[in-house]
Structure formats: structure tokens, C-alpha cells
Amino acid sequence: MTETATQLGFTAEAFNALLGSRKEPDWLTELRRSAFKTFSASSLPDRSEEEWMRTDIRLFHPERFAPPAIGDASASSEEIVEPLLTRGVQLAGRTAAVDGRTVVDQLEPKWADRGVLFGSLGRLVAQHGELLRPHLLARAVDPHADYFSALHAAFWTGGTLLYVPRGVVVDEPFHMISSLNDGRVDLGHTLVVLEEGAEATLLAETASADERAGGLHCGAIELLVGPNASLRYVNLQNWGSGVWHFARQKALVDRDARLQWTIGALGSRLAKVNQHVALVGPGADVQVNGVMFTQGKQHLSYHTLQHHEAPSCHSDLLYKAGLQGHSRTVWRGMIKVDRAAQKTDGYQRNDSLILNSNARADSIPGLEIEADDVRCTHGSTAGRVDEEQVFYARSRGYTRQEAIRMIVTGFFQQIFDRITIESVRDALAEAIGRRIREYE
């Protein structure tokens, strides 16, 4: 552990040490400074705010965490957690970070030759500052939105960039993994820019070295999908059960572009995520898949927004949650349709399967529609495993546990059927299957 890592708290001292250690474009330093100003002036949100009403963070003490260690001196690729999404997959490039420090940074030369940029955001922003300036924390995620977005924008390190130039179709997926050791901090930033007609798939994983590990992740994801471009983005959140997870995630999807965004939310002690999809060009088409599985005392709070800003767009969101132990999920979904967004076709649905009567699922769908020629539907269900289904399976020779595992797997199958990436389907099914086994 380096000396800087032992300095706790997101203090001015820590901030200045961070700035001093980085060679970044001036505009980025300014961005950090302005975010730090906002951060210093803001306080942790409390339960009087609608978004935090159901999510109690009184036990979260940011002063007990240290900003990621500066420099790569102690970084080791041996600390990377085994990835789940890459089995049998030929990758176009990969990055890995440990405790917010990039330790693997690779791009296949054939894609580099086509002008693709992929790798450590910290490295690439130093090399391609002017190219990234209009995109990084400028169009999608607002650094000043709240305490956590400001903390992230001021202190982020590591991170991953994927930039695909106009018309380039990358038919192999990219992979990134952020690993956390117990008690450490990851403030990774993900930026994806697809120019017009570009196509790519990015598989992103976050995981702890130990499933019971603690730590802090305060991150942001920005997906900028240009006209007629196509992006498949997967993020599998598999932090240890002691990790605090705060994230702002936003996609801007332009004219006739397509985005398939799949979220697997399995880990963390407490997660508070804002997932925001903005359909900003006519004909944009977005599919969002959310798979949540919680246990123990986990609390996962996901706030989704499908914002139709342009006409004739389609968005389709399905979140499914399985809960056991004393865990709790909160899903608060909103479809917002601007006056200009005529011919909108929007859908959102959240289904929760409660495996233990101590678990609780809150589902709050919402519509806010200003246009008059739209079709928007929403729905949600929450319930226990049906004992009649269990008996039916048992009458066919299944044990009770086999029956429950099958029913829960079937519950998630509807969402797996939508996911077009086999390794992702398999990894999610396996991870969930393993957790149900633990339930016995």
C-alpha cells in the first residue's frame, strides 16, 4: 500500500495530491476543480429526498475511505478477479483495473488500425484530450447533479474508453473488469462513443476479490450512441456484500441508433444507481434488461428513466429481481415523453420474485407524458414462488430445492431470452443458479 492510500477521506489535500500526480489536459483539470467545489459544498443526501426515501445511507462514512492510490507502483494484474463474461469469447480488447488503477490495457492491432480507441481512460484522455473533451462528463452525466456525481467527477481514476469511428463495425466484444480489494475504492468512469454507423459490444464487470469484501464504488457510465450506430453494453455488478455502490449511468441514443443495455445487479451491500436513457434522435431504439438477485441484507435501489426527447423512438425496459434473505430491492422507473416526441412507443416492466418472507421489493413505475400521440405501457408484479408450481414439479420427481431453482431460473429466462450475447446469458444464469443453491 502506498503512503497516499493511507490518507483517509476525500479531502482538499487528497484532491490536490491527485491533481499533482496526473498529467491531464487543462480542461479536465478545470472540470475536476469545479466538481470538487460542488462536492465540498454538498452534503450526503438524506431520506427527505424522494430518491433516497427508501434507501438509508446513514451508515455510509465517506471519511473512512481513501481515494484510489496514485500511480501504478503497487498495481498487480494478479489481483484481477476472474471474469465471468468472457468464457469462449474472442475479444477485441480488454482492460482491467484493481482498486481504481489500470493494470491491463490491451487493444487488438487490427482494430487500432481501423481507428478504434480502447483502453484506460486516464491514458487516452491525456493523448486525445481534444477529441474527448466534447464527450467526457459534458453531454450525458452531469458532474454537479449531486454529492456522488461531484465526488466521482472530481476524483475519478482508471476508467475505460471505447471510441469507434464512423462506420466501423467491431464484431468482437470488448471487455473491462474493475476489481476491488477489501475496503478499497474504485471511482472508475466508463465512456463509450460510437460515431455514426459504428457498431460495438462492451462487456463490463465489477467484482470484489472476496464475496464478503467491503469497499466503495462511486462511478459513472456514459454511452454516446451516434446516428445509426449500434451498441450492446453489458454491466455485471458483482461487488462483495460489503461494498457501497453509487453510480450514475446515462446513454444518449441518436437518430436510428440502437442500444441494448443489460444490467446484472448481484453484488454490493447497498447500491443506488440512476440508469438514464435519453432517446435524442428520431427512430432511436433502446432495449434495457435488468437482472437483479439479492440475498443477505443487500439493498439495491435502481432508478431508471427512459426519456423520449425525439419522435418515433422505441424503448423497452424489463427488470426482473429475485430476492432472498432479508434483502430489499427498489425499482423506480419513469418513462418521460417530451412534447416533441410524437409516435413514441415506450414500455417498462418490473417483476420481482420473493423467495423469503423477510425480503422486500418496492416497485414504482411512472409515466410523464407531454405528447399526445404515444403508446406507453407499464406494469409490475411481485410475489412468492407459487407452492402449487412447486408441488407440480415435486409430483414429477423434483425435490423441493430443485423445483424452486427451476422455477426461479424460469422466471429469469424471459429476460435471458432477450439478451443476445450467449456468454452473458450463461454467466448470469450460472451466477443466479449458484446463489439459489446457497439459499438451501
Binding site: 407440480y392 409430483s395 414429477r396 423434483y398 423441493r400 424460469g410 424471459q414
Partner: protein, 271 residues
């Protein structure tokens, strides 16, 4: 048929069953030997399905008195899955849908468990190729489209499709004893004929079958060795196939008149 099989029976003695504290069966006696076909008839609410659920081991159906014996062993305390693995099968009147689980996967797991009663969870299933081949054969025999196997268990099935799916499960699991609870309801005349033929074919002379039905069509190819009439939670009369014919054409008025006590109990159950 091997002689030893004939001695294997499903024997129900003085069975009393309550559902949520409410007594439904009041002392049922019935013995089915392998190779025999029994018809169980009776008005709605007389307790026929209750008998099926009690034998299959549904936890809500509490046996308050009497015994269920399988090949000489009392199975009152057996779990439903143990009963299934030891050769008891019930075709449900209203099978449950299990969305997201393909019929073929559901059956492969079930078939493995039933054929290897000692199988522990996580142990290998019947090899996929071997299973598919067998399943295809059975489905052809039952004139079912293979597409059926790729659909989710009973999810969005029509009434008729559900019943055919139950028969397919019967064919794959090949139990020693099968209770078919109104496997003809919801089927048109042709489908009932097909079901009747299929059951006869599957059952052969090694399966003991209890057919719960209101009609005689399902019995066309499954001539009952015995016909039982249930009324007010008891079997009040047992005879041959002619009784099934009588009940189908003339209803239960004669039975009610002959067994006033049971008829009264029937009213009690209904109220």
C-alpha cells in the same frame, strides 16, 4: 406380465383426508394392482381429485386417518417427490404453468429423477442425445409436434394441449401407478379418442391406472376392470364397466337414492 407385478399394488385403506381443517374424504378403501384399470366416477365435489392429491402427497391434503400403501409400504409420510420416484404419478386436471422452463428440459430432469430414485441434486441427467431420441419417439407415438418440447411448460397451452402434455409425461415417466384426473376434460371428441388410445398403449399391462372421469369416452380403449362411485367422500359402490356406462347415461340420482347418508355428506361438503 410377470407374476410378481400382479402382487404390487397401491392400497388405500380407510383414508380420511382434510383440506385446511375441513374433512373431505371419510374412509376411502381402494386397491389397484399393476395392470388393472379402475374408473373413479362421481359428481363434482365428491372428493375424487382430493383422493388423487392425497395419494400424490400434496401438503395441503392432510391424511387424518388411514393408510396409503405402495407395494406393501406405507407412504403416508413420504414427500411428493419420493412418491413420484417410487412410481406414483398423477395427471393434473389443471396442470401448472412453469414459464421460462422448456418442456424438454423439465421432462429430462423429471425422467432422470424417476429412473434413478436415489439421484442427488447436481448429479448428471440422462444424456441429451439419448433423451431427445426417446422423447421424439414418444411424441411421434402421441402424434405431437416436436415444437411442443421447446415450449415452456404449460405456458399459454390450450386446455387440450395441457392434457396432451400430461399424457406425454405419463409416457416418459412410466409410473407403476397413474391417477388421471379428468384427462378428458377440455378435449374434443377426436382428442379424447386419441387420449384414450394413447393411455391404453402407454399403460399396457404393467401399469395400474385410476381414471377419474365424468364420461365413458376415455374408457373406450381402457375398459375398466372396476368402476367405483364416489359420493360424499366415500366410495359407495364398486362394480365392473357396466357401472361406468350406467352412470354416464343416467347420472347419479340412483346412487344418491341408494346411499342417502353419503348423499347427505355430499351436501355437507358442498355447503
Amino acid at each position: 406380465m410377470i407374476d410378481v407385478m400382479k402382487h404390487e399394488s397401491l392400497k388405500i385403506t380407510n383414508l380420511h383426508v382434510a383440506v385446511e381443517g375441513k374433512p373431505i374424504l371419510h374412509g376411502v378403501n381402494l386397491e389397484i394392482r399393476r395392470g388393472e384399470t379402475h374408473a373413479l366416477m362421481g359428481p363434482n365435489g365428491s372428493g375424487k381429485s382430493t383422493l388423487g392429491f392425497a395419494v400424490a402427497g400434496h401438503p395441503k391434503y392432510e391424511v387424518t386417518e388411514g393408510t396409503i400403501e405402495l407395494c406393501g409400504e406405507t407412504i403416508n409420510d413420504w414427500s411428493p417427490d419420493k412418491r413420484a420416484r417410487q412410481g406414483v404419478f398423477m395427471a393434473f386436471q389443471r396442470p401448472m404453468a412453469i414459464p421460462g422452463v422448456k418442456m424438454a428440459d423439465f421432462l429430462r430432469h423429471a425422467t432422470t429423477n424417476v429412473r434413478r430414485p436415489d439421484r442427488k441434486e447436481g448429479e448428471d441427467l440422462i444424456p441429451m442425445r439419448e433423451f431427445r431420441k426417446e422423447l421424439r419417439g414418444k411424441m411421434e407415438q402421441l402424434k405431437m409436434d416436436m415444437e411442443f418440447a421447446r415450449r415452456y411448460v404449460n405456458d399459454g397451452f390450450s386446455g387440450g394441449e395441457m392434457k396432451r402434455a400430461e399424457i406425454l409425461q405419463l409416457a416418459m415417466l412410466m409410473p407403476k401407478f397413474a391417477i388421471l384426473d379428468e384427462t378428458d376434460s377440455g378435449l374434443d371428441a377426436d382428442a379424447v379418442r386419441l387420449a384414450s388410445e394413447s393411455i391404453a398403449q402407454i399403460g399396457g399391462d404393467e401399469m395400474g391406472i385410476l381414471i377419474i372421469t365424468h364420461h365413458d369416452k376415455l374408457l373406450e380403449h381402457n375398459t375398466p376392470d372396476y368402476t367405483h362411485v364416489m359420493l360424499g367422500g366415500r366410495i359407495v359402490e364398486t362394480a365392473g364397466k357396466e357401472l361406468a356406462e350406467e352412470l354416464h347415461s343416467q347420472g347419479y340420482d340412483r346412487v344418491r337414492a341408494d346411499y342417502p347418508e353419503a348423499a347427505e355428506a355430499e351436501l355437507g361438503v358442498r355447503s
